[in-house]
Symmetry: C2
Subunit: 198 residues, 2 copies
Amino acid sequence: MTRQVTRGRRPGSPETRDAILDSARESFATRGFRGTTIRAVAGDAGVDPALVHHYFGTKDDLFLAAMHMPLDPRAVLAGVLQGGLHDAAQRLLRTFLSVWDDPGARQPLVALVRGSLAAESPTSLLQEGMLRMVLQPLSDALPGPDAELRAHLVATQMIGLIVGRYVLALEPLVAMSQDEVVASVGPTLQRYLDGDLG
Amino acid sequence: MTRQVTRGRRPGSPETRDAILDSARESFATRGFRGTTIRAVAGDAGVDPALVHHYFGTKDDLFLAAMHMPLDPRAVLAGVLQGGLHDAAQRLLRTFLSVWDDPGARQPLVALVRGSLAAESPTSLLQEGMLRMVLQPLSDALPGPDAELRAHLVATQMIGLIVGRYVLALEPLVAMSQDEVVASVGPTLQRYLDGDLG
């Protein structure tokens, strides 16, 4: 590992950062999220693991950077939940729509969804990477013994909205304004968050 | 076309039916739903178009047979709606779960969903084939100017449930009993069918 650092890449150069991101993308795609280690990514990029940590933080952080995620879902979720749970659904939807309705921000997300749903891959980056990063903190923030189930019910409606409005681009869903989405889908999410599940 | 009938296949034989289904599958996969015609499928299979109609009915019918669909979504939907709209959501969910919770019935459906979401295909069989066959009659059965939107909102929640419980197989969703799914997701669907959309 140390030997590889001397290959000639200057540690602080943009080329080094790009090389790390390329190695990370390659590793996530072939080894999956769980199978990827900072150490292996560093080895592939010919740098010291400490440098990967220094530039990109944890494996979750590296994943978000490598996948070109337009924002950090953990920070977004924390912001949404900070305002309290009783009206979190509409804040969640508005934030969600501000990202997904932006074609530039949406593009890497759609690619991730397509790639993860495509094959019977043993390494779903959507599940182990993205969804876990959102579902775990959401579960932790919800009340009662159903917290984990509630978070996953929210996920079903959000995933369905993503597939319908952005992946399949079904016309009546694409045509909805953000206010219309909030008015129609918001109550569903609010009930899953803290309502009566029957 | 007529010349090809004389290739030696007996019109009524199981081999002829299989050859038609093979040609249909090939055509749907490569030309998409809209690009597929009964005439072309017949030509590929070396039979007369009338024979395809005779065995398989319309293009929709041929699609369902070629995709190994475990049931006819149009008939299922008609049965669900026949009982009236005020409690259609739970009937819809129970019927849905009886199909999707059966691994044998689920398998071709999961393959269709995966294949359709996978690539930026110009020929989404999910949209043009399956969804259209369900969404059109559902829209027609719903009241008011929002009928088409209501049907598509139902689709978002159903698609999300399919992806979460069956494609990604997220643990808390897989663990739900059918009664629990009906209790938690039923009210969402019922509101989309005939409730206040805000």
